[in-house]
C-alpha cells in the first residue's frame, strides 16, 4: 500500500517535473563574475599553420571564444573541446559572430601539435577555429588576467587546471564559463552576449525599412539612420513653410501701426 502511494506521488512529481522542465536558471558563479569586464593583454601567437598573429588583430576582426588547453591532456581538455565544437555548430553564429581560439598553455606544445589537435577534432580546415601557442611569459600573462591557473604534476607530466571558456569582445572579457561540462543553455547565452553585450533590437524577417538608429552590437555604437530624418523633418519643414508663407505677400509699409481699438468694443452694456 505504501509503495503504491509512493508510486502515485512519484508519478505526480515526475509529471510536474515534465511541465517545469528547463526551468533551471543559469547563474553566474562568483569566480565567473570576477573575470568579467577584464581586459586581456595583447600577445604574439603562433597559429597552427605557422603564421604569427597578434591576439589583438584576432579579436579586432571578430569576437573570440577563448579556451585554454594543452595537447597531451588526459583530462577534460579533449571532451571540453568536443563539447565546444558541437555547441558552437549547434548554436549558430560561428564565423559570423565569433570565432573560437584554443590556446595552449603548455610550453612544450608547438604549432605542429596544434595542427594535430585540430585534425583530431576534424577542424583542420575550419577557418573559424584557431589553435595557437605563445611564448611562455605571454601565455602566463593571459592566464593571470583570466584568473586561470595551471600546475604541472612532475610525477605524471600532466597539468592540473580548471576548464574555462571566455567570450572576448575587443579585448574585453564579456562573460566567462567555468567548469566542465558546460550546459547548452549557458553556451547559447554566452553566444548571445557576444553578439553585443546588449541587443537593443532584433531584426525580424520582413521587418521595417526605416529606423531611428542602427546599433552595432560589436562596437556598441549607435548611428542615426534614415528614420531619424523623418523625426526631424516635420519641425524643419514647418519652419521652411513659415518662411515661405511670410516671404510671399506684398505688405504695406513695415511700420504701419495697428488700427486703434474702437471705444465701443470695450463697453459691455
Amino acid at each position: 500500500m505504501r509503495a503504491a502511494h509512493a508510486v502515485i506521488v512519484a508519478w505526480l512529481l515526475s509529471g510536474i517535473a515534465c511541465v517545469c522542465s528547463g526551468a533551471t536558471p543559469a547563474s553566474i558563479s562568483r569566480d565567473e563574475a570576477r573575470v568579467a569586464e577584464r581586459m586581456l593583454p595583447d600577445a604574439e601567437l603562433r597559429l597552427a599553420d605557422g603564421r604569427l598573429m597578434r591576439l589583438s588583430a584576432l579579436w579586432r576582426e571578430r569576437p573570440l571564444l577563448l579556451t585554454l588547453f594543452y595537447r597531451h591532456c588526459a583530462g577534460t581538455c579533449m571532451p571540453s573541446l568536443l563539447l565546444i565544437r558541437d555547441a558552437a555548430a549547434g548554436s549558430g553564429g560561428l564565423g559570423r559572430d565569433f570565432r573560437v581560439l584554443a590556446l595552449s598553455f603548455a610550453d612544450s606544445d608547438t604549432a605542429e601539435d596544434m595542427r594535430a589537435q585540430a585534425a583530431s577534432l576534424g577542424l583542420q580546415n575550419d577557418p573559424n577555429w584557431l589553435f595557437a601557442v605563445g611564448r611562455t611569459e605571454d601565455v602566463q600573462r593571459i592566464a593571470d588576467a583570466l584568473g586561470f591557473w595551471f600546475r604541472r604534476d612532475l610525477a605524471t607530466g600532466q597539468y592540473d587546471h580548471p576548464t574555462m571558456l571566455v567570450a572576448v569582445d575587443q579585448g574585453r572579457v564579456v562573460r566567462a564559463l567555468l567548469g566542465y561540462p558546460i550546459a547548452a543553455e549557458r553556451f547559447r547565452e554566452l553566444v548571445w552576449e557576444l553578439r553585443g553585450s546588449f541587443v537593443p533590437y532584433y531584426r525580424l524577417p520582413g521587418q521595417s525599412w526605416l529606423r531611428c538608429f542602427e546599433f552595432n552590437g560589436r562596437t556598441g555604437t549607435v548611428r542615426p539612420d534614415w528614420g531619424m530624418l523623418l523625426v526631424l523633418a516635420p519641425g524643419m519643414i514647418a519652419i521652411l513653410v513659415a518662411i515661405g508663407l511670410f516671404a510671399y505677400p506684398q505688405r504695406p509699409a513695415a511700420h504701419a501701426a495697428s488700427p486703434p481699438v474702437r471705444a465701443s468694443e470695450t463697453a459691455v452694456r
Binding site: A6, V7, W11, S14, G15, C18, W192, V199, P200, P205
Partner: protein, 319 residues
C-alpha cells in the same frame, strides 16, 4: 527501499513518455492557448480548461478549437454563452488543424487527470485594501498638493485684491517677477541635478546577477532564460512557468514584445509599482532592478494593447 525503487521506476518510465508525447502538444498549448487559458490555474482571459474534456463533447471541442469564428457566426449557443462570459472577447481562429486539436484535447485530458487532487486556489482575497504610498509617489503627491494650494491662495488673493483698485507699480512688479524667475529656475535646476543622476537606464558597463528574458504578447507575459525573438521561438526556447528569483540579486529583465506595444510593470509585495519598462516589438528594453523584499510580485501590462489589456498579468516570486 521499495519506495525509492518505485520512485526511480516511475520516473524512468514516465519521463520519456512524458517528454515525447507531451512535447508537441504542450508546445502547441504554450504557443496558441496559454495566452488566454490555464489548466487548473484559474480563469484568465478565457476560462480555466481543467476538466473541459469532461464538460464538453469531444467533437464540439474539435470544432470550437479549429473554427471558433465560424461557430460564433453560426450562433452556436454554447459559443455565444462563452462570449458573454468572457466580456465579449471572442476566441480567435488560430489556424489549428483537426489533428492538432485532437492532440490538444488529449493533452488537456491528461493535464486535468494529473491534477486529480484539486490544486489549492491561489490565496488571493477578492479585494485588497489600498497599499501605502511609495516614497516617490508620496513625495510627488505632497509636493503637488502643496503647490496647488499655493496657486489657489495666490489666485484667490489676487482676485480679492481687485476690491481695492490701485494703479500698478510696474517696477516693483517686475522686480517681483525677477525674484520669481530666479526662485523657479533655481528650484528646477536643483531638481534637475538631483534627479538626472538617478535614472532607471542600465549603465553601460554595469553588471547584473541574473538575466531574465520577457516576451509580451496579447495578452500574456512569457519568461524565459533565452531570448524569444519571434513567436516561432516558443517552440524551441525553454519557458519558465514559475519564475523564482533570489532576494537582493540584481536582476536584468530584457523585455520585448511579439505583437503590439505592451509594458512590463513590476508591482512589489506591498502592491506598489516599483519599476517598469515598455515592451516593443523588434526592440529589447533592459530593466535593472534589485528586489530586496521577498514575496509575491505581480506584473501588469501598463500600455494599452487591446481588449484583454486589463487581464494581462503574470507573477514572480522572490525568496
Amino acid at each position: 527501499m521499495r519506495t525509492v525503487l518505485a520512485f526511480l521506476i516511475s520516473v524512468a518510465v514516465v519521463s520519456p513518455v512524458c517528454a515525447a508525447e507531451d512535447e508537441a502538444a504542450s508546445t502547441l498549448f504554450q504557443q496558441k492557448c496559454a495566452v488566454c487559458h490555464t489548466v487548473g490555474g484559474g480563469k484568465r482571459v478565457g476560462p480555466d480548461l481543467r476538466g473541459v474534456t469532461d464538460r464538453r463533447e469531444t467533437d464540439w471541442l474539435v470544432r470550437w478549437i479549429t473554427h471558433p469564428d465560424q461557430m460564433l457566426t453560426d450562433k452556436d449557443p454554447i459559443a455565444v454563452g462563452l462570449l458573454t462570459e468572457s466580456g465579449q472577447i471572442p476566441m480567435p481562429n488560430l489556424g489549428i488543424t483537426e489533428s492538432q486539436a485532437a492532440a490538444l484535447i488529449d493533452y488537456l485530458r491528461q493535464e486535468s487527470a494529473a491534477q486529480a487532487a484539486p490544486l489549492p486556489a491561489a490565496a488571493t482575497p477578492a479585494t485588497y485594501p489600498p497599499p501605502s504610498l511609495g516614497p516617490i509617489q508620496r513625495f510627488s503627491l505632497v509636493l503637488f498638493l502643496a503647490l496647488t494650494a499655493v496657486i489657489a491662495v495666490v489666485f484667490s488673493w489676487v482676485a480679492v485684491s481687485t476690491r481695492n483698485p490701485q494703479s500698478l507699480d510696474t517696477h516693483r512688479a517686475y522686480a517681483l517677477r525677477r525674484v520669481f524667475l530666479f526662485v523657479t529656475a533655481g528650484a528646477l535646476l536643483v531638481a534637475l541635478v538631483a534627479t538626472l543622476s538617478r535614472t532607471p537606464y542600465a549603465a553601460a558597463r554595469s553588471h547584473s546577477d541574473r538575466i531574465v528574458y520577457v516576451a509580451a504578447r496579447q495578452f500574456d507575459f512569457i519568461f524565459s532564460l533565452e531570448p524569444i525573438v519571434a513567436a516561432a521561438d516558443l517552440a524551441t526556447v525553454p519557458v519558465v512557468n514559475h519564475l523564482e528569483l533570489p532576494t537582493g540579486a540584481a536582476i536584468e529583465f530584457r523585455v520585448t514584445s511579439l505583437d503590439v506595444n505592451h509594458n512590463f510593470a513590476l508591482y512589489g509585495p506591498e502592491r506598489r509599482l516599483l519599476a517598469q519598462t515598455q515592451a516593443m516589438p523588434g526592440y529589447v528594453n533592459r530593466l535593472r532592478v534589485r528586489l530586496t523584499t521577498p514575496g509575491r510580485y505581480e506584473v501588469l501590462c501598463l500600455e494599452y494593447c487591446g481588449a484583454g489589456h486589463h487581464l494581462m498579468r503574470t507573477e514572480l516570486t522572490v525568496k
